[in-house]
């Protein structure tokens, strides 16, 4: 290699380094009114069978961003305008990591998402490595915030909190002294059942049986028979409706008098269809609140439906997630992820869905659970339970 070529090579290397250095600077695009544009990502399935839920989440976030922009944001003496970058992860874990990397490459200031636990968890590593805060509106799996990432937050009640409420409810409200627990050995069913067991024991209940099945079984007579011998007051099932429904039927056919209790896998309309008359009196729980019970629910519904049509499910949570992110930016007086990430634990405000504040893991404090009971073939709201109250600030 001669000297001249070496020089050229050196120039190219220097140029490339310079370019990457430029790229690392925060986006400095300017809006029409002289404001600096800041991008916030929203990731949810926008295509496929969950598309209606995904669009709902994106619209919830968009509504919040539009309102915040309309009110005007001035941080560190500079005017800012937020822009929502909504991407599709198809509810697929692999696509989720690709989209997450795209978000990082686009230098978003933060990510609202993902919708599913299965996508939020793999994506969270990518955001954590890039130091970008992530607030999921709807992921409930315990693992999401249990990985120890400082960037992973959520505004939805997790399965641990749900299990705790269910366990305490069984002992205190249903008056159960003897509790039998069945789970389907999936990450969801087992995780929920373990928490119910812990909470029920702590509340003074006795676990008289712990049985297992699979998420494909239809015959539970054998395990229900051995449970019957232990004479429980309540039978809890951690699993889905397709097993829960035949289980409650078989429970009745064996003449078991125990009350049947399930989590959000059981609290579905499909369960009502499958269990028929046997569904009557079954108690089920679901994380979060029904829109009518949310503190800002009515107002939110009016605003949302005027712009985007009917609310599907998690839009109010996406709205609160967006507000929580901007709230942290205000506390830090900066849109720089490094600066405002440290302020996220201090966020405290009354959102649409309730009081928003995070614990040290990034989970919502005092996350709400709604308990339902089947009456006349419909899930009726029984009561809403909140976890530990947010600390006074």
């Amino acid at each position: 290699m001669n000297e001249r070529r070496m020089k050229w090579m050196l120039w190219i290397v220097v140029l490339a380094l310079g370019l990457t250095a430029c790229e690392k600077k925060p986006d400095a695009a300017t809006g029409a009114g002289g404001e600096t544009i800041v991008r916030i990502g929203s990731v949810s399935p926008l295509t496929g069978p969950q598309a209606h839920l995904g669009k709902d989440n994106a619209n919830g976030a968009r509504l919040a961003i539009d309102e915040i922009n309309a009110a005007g944001v001035t941080l560190g003496g500079k005017k800012f305008k937020f822009e929502l970058l909504a991407e599709d992860d198809q509810a697929d874990p692999r696509t989720a990591t690709v989209v997450a990397q795209k978000m990082v490459d686009q230098h978003v200031a933060g990510v609202l998402g993902h919708l599913n636990s299965g996508t939020s968890i793999p994506a969270s590593k990518i955001y954590a490595d890039a130091g970008i805060p992530q607030i999921s509106p709807s992921a409930t799996a315990i693992a999401y915030t249990a990985q120890g990432f400082k960037t992973a937050y959520r505004v939805m009640t997790n399965d641990l909190q749900q299990g705790k409420v269910l366990g305490e409810y069984a002992v205190m409200k249903l008056g159960a002294k003897r509790i039998a627990i069945i789970d389907d050995r999936t990450a969801y069913g087992q995780g929920l059942a373990d928490e119910v067991e812990k909470a029920a024991k702590a509340a003074g209940g006795e676990i008289v049986a712990r049985e297992f099945t699979t998420d494909r079984s239809t015959d539970f007579l054998a395990i229900l028979t051995s449970i019957k011998a232990k004479n429980p007051d309540v039978v809890f099932y951690g699993g889905m409706d397709a097993q829960g429904a035949p289980m409650v039927r078989q429970l009745h056919s064996l003449g078991l008098k125990a009350k049947f209790l399930g989590g959000d896998g059981v609290q579905t309309t499909e369960f009502l269809k499958l269990a028929g008359a046997d569904a009557e009196g079954v108690t089920g729980s679901s994380p979060g609140l029904p829109i009518d019970i949310m503190p800002g629910g009515k107002e939110f519904r009016e605003k949302f439906t005027a712009k985007y049509g009917a609310i599907q499910n998690y839009a109010p949570y996406a709205y609160d997630a967006a507000r929580a992110m901007v709230e942290a930016m205000k506390l830090a007086d900066s849109v720089d992820p490094k600066q405002y990430l440290a302020q996220l634990p201090r966020v405290q405000f009354t959102g649409v869905t309730g009081q928003i504040g995070f614990d040290e893991k990034g989970d919502i404090r005092g996350g709400a659970i709604t308990l339902y009971r089947v009456r006349n073939g419909k899930w009726e709201v029984l009561e809403t339970v909140r976890g530990e109250a947010p600390p006074a600030m």
Binding site: F212, R216, T218, D219, A222, T225, S226, A242, A245, L254
Partner: protein, 309 residues
């Protein structure tokens, strides 16, 4: 003690359903030495067709009694499944009569996949529910509870199995079936139309499968396009346990498998001190199968009875 009785009842009901399906496997194997893997799917079709008929009749205000509607559904399921059994043999297996046995086996797997996907196209991936047309009555029996449906399942299975035994042992058709099973070519030379006999065997097996399918869906309250796979696998296991090709063996194997599963699920946790949970009930059943096959490679009743059908 009442717990043991209850587990035995659970197991016998489940086992009598397994036995009905296992008969279809064993009869076809006895005659053709073919494992008809599509048999589980025929069971599923039986359940689905019965539910389709029930759905059409129950919601229309025909004023028919619940029992009559279920009976009509059952008859429709039997009729359609018999036609299916005939067509499967005619279209998929007869052209391969002289082909290597592996070709027929792979065809059987293919037919199974085709039928499963056909059911998925017709009825979707959703669970279909069995409407509560039959009033459930519970009886006390030595501290255990037995429902009218469980009694009905066991009695009907026993009658069908007894009927089949009489048919095979004491009628001209049965003698022709046994002859075909022993030596197809010789039976042909003796004036037996072996093609017809083989068709009849498939049709009888399919009819029993249809009854079993309706029983399963009524018992558990639901049906699903995928239900035939596991049921077929269990019934096939039952047939092997009893000695495949042997009719009495299939009945014994079915009942035994049901009882083993039930007792396994009920007591495995206590037996292993909580090391293995009740979700290992299938493992327990297959473990027993392996033990039996080590001791008696041809199954419990295999070889003892010379004649097959």
């Amino acid at each position: 003690m009442d717990i043991l009785t209850q587990q035995l009842i659970n197991g016998l009901v489940l086992g009598s359903i397994y036995a009905l399906v296992a008969l279809g496997y064993t009869m076809v194997y006895g005659i053709l030495e073919l494992i008809n893997f599509a048999h589980g799917e025929v069971t599923m079709f039986g359940a689905m067709i019965c539910l389709a008929v029930i759905g059409a009749l129950a919601g229309n205000g025909t004023g028919l009694d619940g029992g009559v509607i279920v009976l009509l559904g059952l008859l429709a399921a039997i009729a359609v499944c018999m036609a299916m059994g005939f067509l499967i043999e005619r279209i998929a297996y007869r052209p391969l009569r002289r082909a290597p046995r592996l070709a027929a086996l792979i065809t059987a797997i293919g037919v199974s996949i085709v039928l499963q996907n056909l059911a998925m196209l017709i009825w979707g991936k959703q669970y279909v529910t069995f409407p509560p047309l039959l009033p459930l009555v519970r009886y006390e029996l030595g501290g255990a509870i037995i429902t009218n449906l469980q009694i009905f399942i066991m009695v009907l299975s026993c009658l069908l199995m007894a009927g089949l035994l009489v048919l095979v042992k004491h009628t001209r058709l049965g003698r022709a079936m046994r002859a075909t099973a022993q030596a197809q070519d010789i039976a042909g030379l003796m004036g037996i139309n072996t093609h017809t006999i083989i068709s009849v065997t498939f049709v009888i097996g399919a009819a029993l499968a249809a009854v079993a399918g309706v029983m399963v869906s009524a018992y558990y309250g639901l049906a699903h396009y995928y239900m035939g796979f596991m049921l077929g696998l269990k019934a096939f296991t039952a047939a092997v346990l009893g000695g495949i090709g042997n009719i009495a063996g299939a009945m014994l194997g079915g009942l035994l498998l049901g009882v083993i599963e039930s007792l396994g699920a009920g007591y495995i946790g206590a037996l292993t001190g909580g090391f293995l949970g009740s979700h290992y009930q299938d493992v327990f059943a297959f473990f027993v199968l392996i033990l039996v096959l080590i001791a008696r490679p041809s199954g419990l009743l295999g070889e003892r009875v010379v004649e097959r059908a």
